[in-house]
């Protein structure tokens, strides 16, 4: 019988921008079991709702995660608006959609870069992040912030984008699209990358479903599950096709994200074409009384904000369920039986966002 050894992976590890700890039980080079332990970035800010007014808590909610910050703020606002029956102006809904999709673009590019780094393709990492800077420039020009935007508020958005700027954004997206085509071409066609990703970390459709995988992790295994289809913000008025792949390996998850880049560009262009004129916010008076589950699609999957208010300006409870947390059981499944050298690639393939997970 081969001897079992345990190798600790993380919390400080070169491939991980954020700390997560895995105990890998090995037999020779094969991973038999992976035991995750989390808590290195737990801050406990869900309890801050008792100390911050519900209008101020938007900023805290946004800082759940610096990558998908806008969508966190948006989901929280949607929850409050739903409880308080606030009618958000059309233009604000479209602007929220545009910024959400820009967030998705920058998050997927960030992931593609980190993923390339995990299989040792440094040049590709640099190139993905170079294109990402163009997305961040637009974010900064329109909201004032690169990664933490603060542009969403209860009852609408804080800033409007003028028509000329929208036209220019649409034009810029054309040239960004060309660059992305070159980039994704390398990810999907390069022989050495295919060799590293094909049939690595396979997650079957049934496992994806029963372990509760969400987002690109689920869609890479053929589960067509996208919260944008519920039509929150302005998604209901746009034409959206859910991207799915059936293989369930790292390559499939990479393909899903590569294809989603183009869906996002398409959505932004559609939104720019259809955006109506009008105000971008309404005045909100009173305080939320009731509870609501707000759901949205983050770059990593389904995000749930549970909000409960009692009619005062301080909420009673806020609970955030983030996509990475639900993607950890599928990850443990993928790691069983893989080679030790593939562990970084598989861990990265679920696009882990630990700040979200641990809150």
């Amino acid at each position: 019988m081969t001897k079992q050894i345990i190798i600790p992976f993380g919390p400080q590890h070169p491939v991980l921008p954020e700390p997560i700890h895995l105990d890998l039980v090995l037999e020779d080079e094969k991973v038999i079991e992976a035991i995750p332990s989390i808590g290195y970035i737990h801050r406990g800010f869900e309890k801050l709702v008792e100390k911050r007014e519900f209008t101020e808590y938007v900023y805290v909610a946004e800082r759940t995660c610096g990558i998908c910050s806008f969508i966190h703020g948006l989901t929280y606002c949607q929850g409050i608006e739903e409880i308080m029956k606030v009618e958000v102006p059309e233009r604000a809904l479209f602007l929220r959609t545009i910024w959400s999709e820009y967030s998705r673009l920058h998050s997927h590019l960030l992931w593609l870069g980190c993923f390339a780094d995990s299989f040792g393709f440094e040049n590709l990492f640099m190139n993905a992040w170079r294109i990402r800077e163009r997305i961040l420039d637009v974010m900064e020009q329109t909201t004032g912030g690169r990664v933490i935007q603060g542009s969403c508020k209860i009852g609408g958005v804080r800033k409007d984008i003028i028509g000329e700027k929208l036209d220019q954004m649409s034009k810029d997206l054309d040239s960004i699209q060309q660059e992305l085509e070159e980039l994704t071409n390398v990810f999907l066609r390069d022989a050495s990358i295919r060799h590293r990703l094909k049939n690595v970390g396979v997650l079957s459709r049934d496992d994806a479903y029963s372990c509760g995988a969400v987002g690109p992790t689920a869609r890479g295994s053929g589960v067509s599950y996208d919260m944008r289809k519920t039509g929150y913000a302005a998604y209901g008025k746009l034409n959206l096709e859910t991207v799915t792949e059936s293989d369930g390996d790292c390559y499939a998850r990479c393909t899903v994200r590569c294809r989603e880049l183009f869906t996002s560009i398409d959505l932004i262009k559609q939104a720019i074409r259809k955006i109506p004129d009008g105000p971008v916010d309404v005045k909100v008076t009173g305080a939320p009384d009731g509870e609501y589950f707000a759901r949205s699609e983050q770059p990593r999957g389904e995000l749930v904000h549970y909000i409960k208010g009692n009619g005062t300006k301080f909420l009673v409870r806020s609970r955030i369920r983030t996509p990475t947390l639900t993607n950890i059981p599928p990850l443990v499944k993928m790691l069983q039986g893989c080679e030790l050298a593939d562990v970084p690639v598989i861990v990265l393939s679920i696009d882990p966002c630990i700040s979200c997970t641990e809150r």
Partner: protein, 155 residues
């Protein structure tokens, strides 16, 4: 300029940041900001590092990790605390699991402000740290550590 000042290696650890500062640290390494032009390389091994970049505040579980990484970095070393969370806890200051800034656990030399800190200010912080690193190196040399002057010898 000494060889240390020409090519300092950095190690980055996310204490309990929201990720905003972390991705800006990484952004500083990539083509648009490109800190590699200063000879700066991001390493994953504390024993190779000269500058310790910490983002986020400390909590119960990661204080030992931060201390552990700090102790493994060879002298002379500089700590740069990035973002307002690393300085004081920032927006999460009143959370039950946040102990406060990084200076509660290890000595900090440079504080970089911002939420999230911009890549420009992170680079500025690192360049400031280079000056401090040089001062520390000279102080060590005065104490009589002569191996310092030989390029390639362990620092």
């Amino acid at each position: 300029m000494t060889y240390l000042k020409k090519s300092p290696w950095v190690i980055h650890y996310d204490a309990s940041s929201c990720n905003g500062c972390d991705i800006e640290v990484l952004a500083a390494l990539t083509p648009v900001y490109d800190v590699e032009r200063f000879g700066i390389i991001n390493t994953g091994n504390p024993k190779h590092a000269d500058i310790f970049l910490v983002t986020g505040s400390v909590n119960e579980q990661n204080r030992e990790v931060v201390k552990n990484i700090y102790e493994q970095i060879p002298e002379p070393k500089v700590v740069v605390a990035i973002g307002i969370c690393a300085a004081s806890g920032g927006i999460f200051r009143e959370c039950y699991n946040v102990l406060g800034g990084i200076d509660k656990v290890i000595p900090v030399d440079v504080f970089v402000p911002g939420c999230a800190a911009r890549p420009e200010s992170i680079i500025d912080g690192v360049v400031t740290a280079l000056g401090i690193l040089e001062t520390k190196r000279l102080a060590m040399k005065e104490k009589g550590n002569e191996t310092m002057e030989k390029p390639g010898s362990a620092v």
